[in-house]
């Protein structure tokens, strides 16, 4: 019994050391790591909150002027919007410039699949072929209106020559035939370009709203708001 009593103290020391080495020290280290992790998370949450505040501020800036906002969305829209291109070009040529339109085609080919047509990662262009006949003054008027269209477009090529073969009722001797390719830009929204670390979300992030005044200065021709007629027919082949 005495021997057992004598052994208790050294055994307890050994037990204490064992507990210290095998459990307390690792626990302590783990606690320190958890504390660091918690501090990191607190920092991340704080940063996220700051970014949320910044986003709210920027969104208010965007929505503060609806006309400016809509101008940007019109200038570079989502998707090709073929119907908008055809309707607007047709209106500008036929109604506004008194021209005969014999070709307005937006290719069905998906330009998005052709990397050579990508302007950058976020936008691409669709090429539109056009063909019109009319006087020099009217062609000039049409091209001037296209150049100031509120949707971005660019003249890739243009050919004007004295009219030869196209038969139209109101053909005059000074008629010219103009054909060419216009490229219209559109925005690609595939969601893969989101960057959480984008400087826009930082405290000093800016939208660059100055560009809007540049767009406004250089564009004035409205895009047509296409109205669709009544649909539904018992015989789709009948006119």
């Amino acid at each position: 019994m005495l021997k057992v009593k004598i052994l208790i103290f050294p055994l307890s020391i050994v037990f204490a050391i064992w507990l210290l080495i095998w459990s307390i020290v690792p626990d302590w280290n783990e606690i320190q790591a958890k504390k660091t992790q918690k501090a990191d998370l607190e920092k991340k949450l704080s940063t996220l909150n700051s970014k949320n505040t910044k986003v709210s501020q920027l969104l208010n800036e965007i929505n503060s002027n609806e006309q400016d906002r809509d101008l940007v969305y019109t200038f570079i829209p989502n998707g090709v919007k073929e119907e908008e291109i055809i309707d607007t070009l047709n209106f500008l040529a036929s109604n506004e410039s008194n021209l005969f339109v014999y070709n307005l085609s937006v290719p069905l080919l998906n330009k998005y699949s052709n990397p050579s047509l990508l302007k950058n990662n976020l936008s691409t262009t669709v090429e539109v072929n056009f063909g019109i006949v009319g006087s020099y003054e009217n062609i000039k008027l049409f091209l001037g209106k296209v150049a100031t269209l509120k949707r971005y477009n660019n003249v890739n090529s243009l050919k004007i020559e004295k009219e030869k073969n196209i038969q139209i009722g109101t053909e005059k001797s000074d008629s010219l035939n103009a054909s060419g390719v216009l490229s219209f830009n559109y925005f690609i929204d595939d969601g893969s370009t989101f960057n959480y670390e984008d400087p826009l979300f930082s405290e000093k992030g800016m939208l660059g709203m100055g560009t809007i005044s540049d767009i406004r200065q250089k564009t004035s021709t409205e895009i047509m708001n296409l109205q669709i007629g009544a649909g539904g027919k018992s015989n789709p082949f009948a006119l």
Partner: protein, 173 residues
Amino acid sequence: MANINLTTTEKTEVSETAISGGIVLAVILIVLILIVYGTLYFWKKDLTDKTKAMQTQYNTDLESFKKGDSKIVLDFRNRLDIAKSLIVERNIPVLTFSELENRIIAGVSINSYSYDSTKNQIVVTCVADSFKIVAEQIANFKKDSVYFGGITTGETKYNQNKKIEIPIGVEIK
């Protein structure tokens, strides 16, 4: 003969007291260690729970941030960035029309006009009655201009109306 004291009573009492003290110390030490261990255990558990909750909250908030208004804002800024570069590099050949009108001299008319953005050049096929007028026309194109740069000329030919045709290439500045 020297006396030897073989009595051990006193020494045994001292040793038992020391042993008892040792046991007390050992118990105190073990209790202390267990308290430390227990404290650390609950502290770690508390930290783990809090960290896990924060991580979940962060993940949720980040996901809603990515799918929320930030996307609209970033999208808008990207459109503005694209617009900024596009509006500068826009080709507007119609601007060259008035310059062309000023450059064409009497006795010359344009038979065809073509513009190619990749070459940034227009080619006009001019028609004239004589080579003298053709030469004057070329010279007139070479005058200093805001829009027009280098001039190149192609092969002349008589057309079916017995007039001289010459293609003139004009670089757009």
